[in-house]
Amino acid sequence: MTRPVEAPALTIDALGKKCPIPIIMLAEQIRDVRIGQLVEVLADDPAAKTDLPAWCALKSQEFVLTADLAQVPGARPGWSFLVRRSY
């Protein structure tokens, strides 16, 4: 997995939100960054793990990577998704 060089221009906190809410938030807010910049989505609905990359493929946005969120013992697992606005 390659590590992006730059920090995301925007972080969307969708922790605790069920799919498709994280996708809706991303679709609404990706326009807030410039083309080529990164958006980070934090989510913990298991469906987000497949839906974020699938959304990027459908909408021709660039899916960069998925990273596990730092674990607090006993907390539910969550992920950080990085998406690059490509148009």
């Binding site: 069920k18 498709p20 809706i24 679709a27 469906a47 497949t50 839906d51 699938a54 959304w55 459908l58």
Partner: protein, 392 residues
């Protein structure tokens, strides 16, 4: 709105096909003639036995096997469990350790659950092999997993129960033959809809998916395939399935399979054309929607699509209000709220999905009405979820 109270169309044949009229007739006859214990030697028992064996011959003929290779179970799931556990039990050896199983990632949950159960109880290793974006099993990965020297069983469905994609069973069978690994083909989604696959060592199916009654599954074990009963001994059904066989329902299952496959020529063409219409219309009329699975090499009656930004359950509820019965999420595990393992394995969108599966005699008008109603319903559900998000 008055339209909301009437049932327009049932589009969930992949969960249960409405009972075929031939099955209803055979079921009534079976209750009259086949109620006795077929294992008994008295005349009532012999009559039940005769009816049971006639049904077995009819179903065996459809699946291209010998009657003595075929046993009746109480469900498709039970058939799968017995197939997996019995095949593994027969080939397991204490000296060589717990062994290895192979299954594609898009198998029915009964296959994956049986494999998982073996992993937990016997320590067996399980290789879940991937699929491409249309849901076809990756043959290279499947073959490489089969090649593993301790492989006891490989499992590949004939066709996918959610997206309809046909699987390369012939090629998988060739790989299994090369390494002398038995192949379980779960034909649940295709039985009665398409000619039976060949190349299998074990085959499973479920009667309610071809217009038979619930409570009848089929387990076929090819001659020469090692299989050992995984449950306490019982001499029913060739020592394969415990308990008194449901003779009337088995008769109904046989009658409906024979009738369904006789009518297949016309049903197949009609349903295929209707599914083609849905596959073309949904992406054209519903913004941000995508149709899954292979457009050509597919089951005649199943199509699944996903709409961005909606919850599949909300969509099913709204469609139900409008008179259309469809299903969503992973077939059989929708209540767990886990995303569909089939769509996830395909890398497809797992939310907002709807499976439409057409029963025989679906009218073109009902499909037209569905396609007319769908865009405004999706728009309404999308608006509702956005409104809820704003107020949350």
């Amino acid at each position: 709105m008055p339209a909301y109270s009437r049932n327009v169309a049932y589009f969930d044949a992949a969960s249960a096909e409405p009972l075929h009229p031939a099955a209803r007739q055979a079921l009534a006859a079976g209750l009259d003639e086949g109620w006795a214990d077929p294992a008994r030697l008295h005349r009532e028992g012999r009559r039940a036995q005769l009816l049971l064996e006639q049904a077995r011959e009819a179903i065996a003929a459809e699946f291209g096997c010998r009657p003595d290779e075929l046993s009746f179970t109480s469900s498709g799931t039970q058939a799968v469990h017995l197939a997996v556990l019995g095949a593994v039990q027969a080939r397991q050896s204490a000296a060589r350790g717990p062994g290895h199983l192979v299954a594609s990632a898009v198998e029915h949950s009964s296959v994956l659950n049986a494999a998982d159960w073996l992993a937990r109880t016997t320590g067996a290793a399980v290789s879940i092999t991937g699929v491409d974006r249309l849901g076809h099993a990756d043959l290279a990965e499947f073959g490489a997993a089969v090649k593993h020297e301790r492989t006891l069983l490989a499992c590949l469905q004939s066709a996918n129960h959610e997206v309809g994609t046909l699987q390369p069973v012939q090629e998988a069978a060739a790989a299994c033959q090369e390494y002398r690994v038995p192949l379980l083909v779960d034909a649940g989604a295709s039985a009665g809809r398409l000619p039976a696959p060949s190349g299998w060592s074990l085959l499973t199916a479920s009667a309610r998916k071809w217009g038979g009654p619930a409570g009848v599954g089929v387990l076929a074990v090819r001659k020469g395939t090692r299989w050992r009963e995984p449950l306490p001994a019982d001499d029913r059904e060739n020592h394969r399935v415990p308990g008194f066989p449901n003779v009337p329902s088995v008769l109904a299952a046989a009658a409906s399979l024979t009738a369904t496959s006789r009518e297949r020529g016309t049903t197949d063409v009609a349903l295929r054309a209707l599914v083609d219409r849905i596959r073309a219309a949904v992406p054209a009329t519903v913004p941000d929607s995508v149709v899954h699975g292979d457009a050509d090499a597919r089951l005649p009656h199943i199509v699944t699509f996903s709409c961005l930004y909606v919850d599949g359950e909300a969509l099913v509820t709204e469609l139900d209000r409008a008179g259309f019965s469809v299903s969503s999420g992973s077939a059989c595990v929708a209540d767990t709220r886990q995303p569909s393992h089939v769509l996830a394995a395909m890398g497809a969108l797992t939310h907002g999905n709807v499976r439409v599966s057409l029963p025989r005699e679906t009218s073109p008008e009902s499909v037209t009405e569905f396609l007319d109603m769908l865009p405004p319903i999706v728009a309404r559900v999308r608006q509702a979820i956005r409104d809820a998000e704003v107020t949350a």
